[in-house]
């Protein structure tokens, strides 16, 4: 089902400017927001079941509840606008067409979390989107929406995929290399400049105004019980109408591809889909009719919903070549802290290069699977396990293509 909880203003010309945004209902959630206590706002978000839309899908409200009791020390909200997962280009639509929605969501979230200063960490390549958001910030300051209760600072990254990982992002924001941090075993908030912090994705925060303005039940009217609400789903690759579309969770993947996406480009046959960003396990075309777009269904299909950015591959695609492309990406982007990740990604890339050059042996394919096992669960962050799972899924789904490349 097509929805417009987040994307309502995307097609309205000029909606990125404050006047037009306001005329179309932006900042309309603020009267109800300030009539509630901060705790009641958090409660509303908990009840809405809003899940993080940066790839992990963990419940947002529960994350907020990890903040320690109020004291006079600073606490921070950090919005993750790093968006670097191949296949994913949704947050930039919010920044481009409706930046005030993000500011409105940040005002609500900061109010709930007793935050006075929030940061937006945006990937360095997004020059245009950073400038657009900066302009929206200026407008919001000019109109007195920011400055009294909340300050927002836009912080630009400089080209490092791993800075989308929240602890790497925080390190980077503190002026260090973007190295993911070791995680404690107990659940606790994140830490920025030695103080507690919450890190949420752009789309997550942009979902908050609807929940506040219309109540959690209105949000739950969309989606499924476990995956409530909507998400900005992306289509790219061999599809007739690539783009970003807002859908309720639980929508059929086949319907999305055919009805909204216009089917596979040039009427070719569908070979495979990478469901939600390139670190998700690959799905064979024939399994698509059984899949619905929600966290549970994708999990049952042995993949993940991730960021909702789907990459479509038609019958002409060489799966080993597609995998090689992603291994190059991940090898380039490994932060280098953990040996299994730093060395493993490069080693796999070299083996696959050999296989694609026709110099591979059948045992090389087994070696790829073996290296994947060495990388899984032995590193500081989930980058290496994600690469390993991705690689294994390509080989398991299309073994014949890999073995066909190996003469002996």
């Amino acid at each position: 089902m097509r929805c417009s909880l987040i994307s309502r203003l995307f097609s309205i010309p000029g909606a990125h400017t404050l006047d037009i945004a306001k005329a179309n209902g932006r900042y309309g959630s603020l009267p109800r927001l300030f009539s509630l206590t901060p705790e009641a706002v958090t409660e509303e978000v908990v009840k809405s079941g809003l899940r993080g839309k940066g790839g992990g899908g963990s419940p947002t409200g529960e994350k907020w509840l990890l903040m320690p009791p109020l004291d006079d020390k600073p606490r921070y909200l950090v919005v993750n606008a790093d968006e670097s997962e191949p296949g994913t280009f949704k947050d930039r639509q919010i920044l481009e067409y409706d930046p005030h929605l993000l500011i409105e969501g940040m005002i609500a979230s900061a109010y709930a979390l007793h935050v006075k200063h929030a940061y937006v960490y945006i990937r360095g390549e997004y020059h245009f989107w950073a400038a657009r958001f900066e302009t929206a910030l200026k407008e919001a300051y000019g109109a007195g929406l920011l400055g009294k209760r909340l300050d927002i600072t836009l912080h630009r990254g400089a080209g490092a995929y791993i800075c989308g990982e929240k602890t790497a992002l925080l390190e980077s924001l503190e002026g260090k290399r973007g190295h993911p941090r070791l995680k404690p075993h107990t659940k606790e908030p994140e830490w920025l400049f030695g103080h507690p912090a919450v890190v949420n994705n752009v789309e997550t925060i942009a979902s908050v105004p609807y929940i506040i303005e219309h109540g959690f039940e209105a949000y739950r009217a969309f989606g499924t019980p476990q995956s409530p609400g909507t998400m900005l789903f992306g289509l790219s690759g061999h599809v007739t109408n690539p783009g970003i579309y807002e859908l309720a969770f639980g929508t059929s993947m086949q319907w999305f591809l055919d009805e909204i996406g216009g089917g596979v480009k040039e009427g070719k046959a569908l070979k495979a889909i990478v469901p939600g960003g390139s670190s998700c396990s690959i799905l064979k075309g024939q399994h698509i009719p059984n899949v619905t777009l929600d966290y549970e269904s994708l999990k049952c299909s042995n993949s993940t919903l991730g960021t909702g950015g789907m990459i479509i591959m038609d019958e002409t695609v060489s799966i080993p070549k597609a995998m090689k492309n992603l291994l190059e990406f991940y090898h380039h982007e490994s932060c280098g802290q953990c040996t299994p990740c730093r060395e493993g990604t490069g080693w796999m890339d070299r083996i696959l290069a050999k296989v694609l050059n026709g110099r591979g042996k059948r045992s090389d394919i087994d070696l790829l699977l073996e290296i994947s096992m060495t990388m899984n669960g032995k590193t500081i962050c989930v980058f290496a396990p994600a690469v390993a799972d991705m690689a294994v899924s390509y080989i398991h789904a299309f073994p014949e293509e890999f073995y066909a490349l190996c003469p002996s």
């Binding site: 600073p74 968006e83 670097s84 997962e85 191949p86 296949g87 994913t88 280009f89 930039r92 200063h117 990937r123 360095g124 390549e125 997004y126 020059h127 245009f128 300050d151 600072t153 912080h155 630009r156 990254g157 400089a158 080209g159 490092a160 995929y161 980077s172 924001l173 503190e174 002026g175 260090k176 290399r177 973007g178 400049f193 992306g234 289509l235 790219s236 690759g237 061999h238 690539p242 783009g243 970003i244 990478v274 390139s278 950015g309 990459i311 591959m313 695609v317 597609a322 492309n325 992603l326 190059e328 990406f329 380039h332 982007e333 932060c335």
Partner: protein, 158 residues
């Protein structure tokens, strides 16, 4: 050779100081300022920054070199970056790169002899719906073809 920020950037720096509780957090904002001012980040600039942020020049270099977008030597007037990651590859980025290499007479990573263009291949630009994507300087050009690129190059040359 010595380096200093322009008075305008100095003012920006002083403003930014009020936005972060630690001096070190200004690392990326100030590295960006330097690169936007000079086109690249020289060792003199890094020494200057180290002093400003009360850390060592090595620390500045160690952080700066972690990120791919800083240049440690001058590049061409125009920086052409071709996205190579999956959606762009499916959209034909390989032939786009081959076309640019042929037209500019250089290979990936090189600068044309007249110093006009530097050509690089980059990982995902986040423009997957508009594949193939090429970023020239700070502007994204999506769904590019040889024809649109040839027109763009003409424009940049004139």
């Amino acid at each position: 050779m010595s380096f200093s920020l322009t008075p305008e950037n100095e003012t920006k720096f002083e403003h930014l100081r009020t936005r972060y509780p630690s001096l070190r957090a200004l690392m990326l904002p100030v590295l960006w300022m330097v690169q936007e001012q000079e086109g690249w980040v020289s060792s003199e600039a890094m020494e200057y920054l180290a002093q400003k942020l009360s850390i060592t020049p090595t620390e500045v270099y160690s952080v700066a070199s972690f990120y791919t977008m800083f240049h440690f030597k001058p590049i061409g007037t125009h920086h052409i970056q071709v996205c190579k990651t999956l959606s762009c590859m499916l959209g034909g980025s390989e032939s786009i790169l081959a076309y640019l290499e042929k037209t500019l007479g250089i290979t990936c990573g090189q600068t044309t002899p007249d110093g006009r263009f530097t050509l690089t291949q980059v990982e995902c630009l986040g423009a997957c719906g508009g594949a193939p994507c090429v970023c020239i300087d700070t502007t994204y050009y999506e769904s590019v073809s040889e024809a649109t690129l040839s027109a763009l190059l003409e424009e940049l040359r004139s």
